[in-house]
Assembly symmetry: C2
Homo-oligomer: 137 residues x 2
DNA sequence: AACGTTTTTGATAGTCATTCTCATCTGGCT
DNA sequence: AGCCAGATGAGAATGACTATCAAAAACGTT
């Protein structure tokens, strides 16, 4: 993936060391079109470098989150799920029957959130919004 | 508190046994104007019945949540926080510096959420929305 | 009020996701 | 090629929560 090379040099420029394991994890993230858990990323990273350990997956995810390179999602039930944040911001709708995650985006809601925070005397730093629904037949 | 008596009979009507411990936990919840954790509720419940254990707090909270009597909030960092759901629905803004929780309500956002779910082919069951902000000076 | 069934309880062990520890290894500057 | 701060793997530790189980307590029935 091209994403990976870009991310690598971006991170390297910020003084982050690029190790075999980190490349493997970035590659796994880049290849993922869903929202994998740490455990799933471990599996997928090992296709690129079989030496990757779970501890390193967690550590790398923390580094990446700190740099704003990925987004951590904590949906209801189960562990955190991750995705690269190189695509436009979006929120999630989770199918409560299958667990499927659908991405969506609403500028109206984004604007309303800013507005609400402002009215309450706060500067909005980030937000979390998840819809939980059941597929209509 | 009067809330407690009402909740008691409501729950009793649904076949839920009213024990000393459950009364203590309901009382603690009713007295709380903030969003206590299970641990905090244990402390506060013990003012009403010193025999309450942590296991019972968790069990009772599950029962109450199942009956729709309380709402469980999973804000970022730390454990779940609870509140009686006998007041109108609202969402939360969390001060990222102090942890203070501010409640707010936006009918516009509620409506937009319904609409988004519908457009995606889902029936909205519930949602989660938290704003994280910094107090404006 | 006492009985009997069924649920609840306290104490504690277990689970699960995540973080920490530490001896060893390695990326990237020189 | 050599150095060394930072990264790694393996596994122990943590923290929030859930399960287990024998003893205790609700509450409908007498």
């Amino acid at each position: 993936m091209n994403d990976v090379k870009e991310l690598e040099s971006e991170l390297r420029g910020e003084g982050v060391r690029i190790t075999r394991q980190r490349v493997a994890i970035l590659s796994a993230l880049s290849d993922s079109k869903d929202h994998p858990t740490a455990e799933e990323l471990l599996e997928r990273s090992r296709d690129f470098d079989s030496s990757v350990s779970l501890a390193t997956v967690y550590r790398t995810l923390s580094v990446l989150e700190g740099r704003g390179a990925i987004q951590r999602n904590e949906f209801e039930g189960g562990g955190a799920r991750f995705e690269l944040s190189n695509r436009p911001h979006h929120d999630h709708l989770i199918d409560i029957e299958t667990g499927k995650v659908v991405e969506f985006r609403s500028d109206k809601i984004e604007r309303l959130q800013e507005e609400i925070a402002r009215e309450l005397g706060y500067e909005l730093v980030h937000h979390r919004m998840e819809l939980y629904g059941r597929r209509k037949s």
